[in-house]
């Protein structure tokens, strides 16, 4: 039974089938919700899911591959703008435009893949620079309605109800999780555990690290793009300031770190808890809510540096008596 674990899961951290079941169940439960909720709650849940979606897509490149991208908002923004241009300007079918948003992002990721040669801080800086560069291009370019400096942005007609958007986001959520689990359970995902640890070693045992990284980057960008494409018509107006702001790049990082980097469930749990805290504070302490939110964040990261998924370890360490040291093998 135990002997089969590695092969069965093959994905590194999680049992694939159990996780898929969990996600399908969660998606099904979410789909049942809307009739019992008012419009505000549906909207709140939609925003929560959007946060989770972008955090999950960041986690693929930032968490599993250890490439801390500070410009993940680029893909979110390109998705949103590609959707806007396809749907409003060219009148392409709504759902096709959503996918087009994802494909455009993935294409940009493919073009930008040489920056994966950089590592650590250099990569983070390069992605930050990429974000700024793309923002300025979109601001100045007539095609994206940048209108040289001041932003005209894109307005969308209200076509779908809030509930409709909610169902759409849940659908994307399920598809995304399936693709992420599929990737992590494939040999490319499994290999990412190796090159995260030591790239020289990974190449020495026959892993084509370049292909693995680029695949992860593209998949990550694709889902970020789709998320952006859904977000755009949901809030009915986008501009470069709101979409390409640093906000959309920092959020997924905070959520992932909080939930637990490099675990599939981490960003989901992190997103739920952070949004709940944020919402609660905003309701009670309107004036000081960001201050308290910040302090709470610092406290939580201080006590759970590996993220919320680490809570089991922490709790057991707190409440368990210290066991005497037991060597794993007898040395005699």
């Amino acid at each position: 039974m135990k002997a089969n674990r590695a092969i069965k899961a093959k994905g590194v951290f999680i049992n694939r089938n159990r996780y898929m079941l969990l996600i399908l169940l969660a998606g099904f439960m979410l789909c049942l919700c809307p009739p019992f909720l008012n419009t505000y709650q549906v909207k709140f849940l939609s925003f929560l899911l959007i946060n989770i979606l972008i955090a999950c897509s960041w986690n693929l490149i930032g968490g599993f591959c250890n490439y801390f991208s500070f410009g993940h908002g680029v893909f979110f923004g390109i998705g949103a703008y590609a959707f806007a241009i396809a749907w409003v300007r060219f009148g392409i079918y709504f759902y096709l435009s959503l996918i087009l948003g994802g494909i455009m992002s993935a294409g940009v990721a493919l073009l930008m893949s040489p920056i994966l040669r950089l590592k650590g801080l250099n990569f983070a800086l390069a992605t930050l620079a990429l974000l700024e560069a793309v923002r300025i291009i979109f601001q100045k370019w007539g095609f994206t309605r940048g209108l040289k400096g001041f932003d005209a942005g894109w307005k969308f007609p209200m076509t779908l109800s809030d509930q409709h958007f909610f169902y759409l986001i849940v659908l994307v959520f399920i598809l995304m999780q399936i693709s992420l689990v599929g990737f992590m359970a494939s040999r490319y995902g499994f290999a990412s555990a190796a090159f995260k640890e030591d790239e020289l070693m990974a190449r020495g045992i026959g892993i084509n690290t370049t292909v693995c990284k680029i695949l992860a980057f593209i998949l990550s960008a694709f889902w970020a793009g789709v998320t952006g494409a859904i977000y755009a018509p949901m809030i009915t107006y986008i501009s470069t300031q709101s979409i390409f702001g640093i906000n959309w790049s920092i959020k997924p990082i905070v959520v992932s770190i909080f939930g637990g980097i490099g675990s599939l469930l981490g960003p989901i749990i992190g997103g739920i808890i952070l949004n709940a805290i944020d919402h609660f504070l905003w309701e009670r302490f309107l004036e000081y809510h960001t201050l308290i939110y910040g302090i709470l964040l610092i406290a939580i990261v201080l006590f759970l540096p590996k993220g919320f998924m680490d809570y089991k370890d922490r709790l057991t360490r707190l409440f368990q008596k210290k066991k005497p040291y037991r060597p794993i093998v007898d040395l005699d």
């Binding site: 089969n4 674990r5 190796a194 020289l200 070693m201 190449r203 020495g204 045992i205 026959g206 690290t209």
Partner: protein, 249 residues
């Protein structure tokens, strides 16, 4: 000839690390590469496995079918063509199990038979772990919790999981006790007998080198100062000088 290293030179910045290094390795032979610290042994390994490109010179690997020019191939291609290696600093994925670490190598194996399908892959990994005699009870414990001798065996298993024709050991005995060293060298020799692979063996432990190797290459300051039978090596005045220093008259 199995591996042919021809006039390899490599320098980093102004520092010449290897100068015109050349030697050959016969099929099924175990060859030691020894020399004092900083002689360029690991650099040589890194050139053979494609991590560095040599400034000049060539490395050829002869297999049944063809001749491969390793000096212009990328590391993962070289590994897949059947050059397994271990690392000087133990580098395995610590949060994975022993089995999964071996699996990382096994899944890139393309030479023996296409190991596709989980059952085949599992069998192949188990075969490799058995070949290095890791206790099956330990297969599914986390790699960060097993002793150093097992870590070295994991590296060995991962290297042979590629079904290699040439295995390079980079100081695999460092940090092991005498008994563990003997066990490991016995394993290496047994594996050579069974599979007929060629082995390049970098080691500081001269006792282990004497036990294992048929021939030895001695490198000092990036130059080959001796190439030949193991027993002649330690009588050679140049080798003695490199290791112990010049005799004062």
């Amino acid at each position: 000839m199995m591996l042919d290293v021809i006039d390899i030179s490599k320098s980093f910045g102004g520092l010449s690390v290897l100068g015109n290094v050349g030697f050959g390795l016969k099929s099924g032979q175990i060859k030691g590469v020894i020399g004092p610290n900083g002689a360029g042994k690991t650099t040589l390994f890194n050139i053979i496995t494609g991590v560095y490109r040599p400034d000049s010179g060539q490395v050829h690997l002869y297999t049944n079918e063809s001749r491969l020019s390793l000096h212009c191939m990328r590391p993962h291609r070289i590994a897949r063509e059947g050059v397994g290696r271990t690392f000087q600093k133990p580098s395995i994925v610590w949060q994975l199990t022993v089995f999964e670490n071996a699996l990382l190598g096994a899944m890139n194996q393309h030479r023996r038979q296409p190991v596709c399908g989980r059952k085949k892959l599992k069998e192949w990994t188990e075969y490799c772990l058995e070949a290095v005699s890791i206790d099956p009870q330990m297969w599914h414990s986390e790699a960060s919790k097993v002793p150093i001798a097992v870590i070295k065996k994991i590296e060995f298993a991962r290297a042979i999981a590629l079904a290699p024709t040439l295995v390079l050991f980079d100081e695999i005995c460092s940090g092991l006790s005498r008994m563990e060293t003997d066990e490991l060298t016995a394993l290496i020799m047994a594996y050579r007998e069974k599979e007929g692979v060629s082995v390049l063996f970098v080691e500081h432990d001269l006792r282990a080198v004497k036990n294992v190797c048929d021939e030895v290459v001695v490198i000092d300051f990036g130059r080959v100062i001796f190439d030949g039978g193991i027993h002649d090596a330690f009588k050679d005045p140049k080798v003695i000088e490199a290791y112990i220093g010049e005799e004062r008259a």
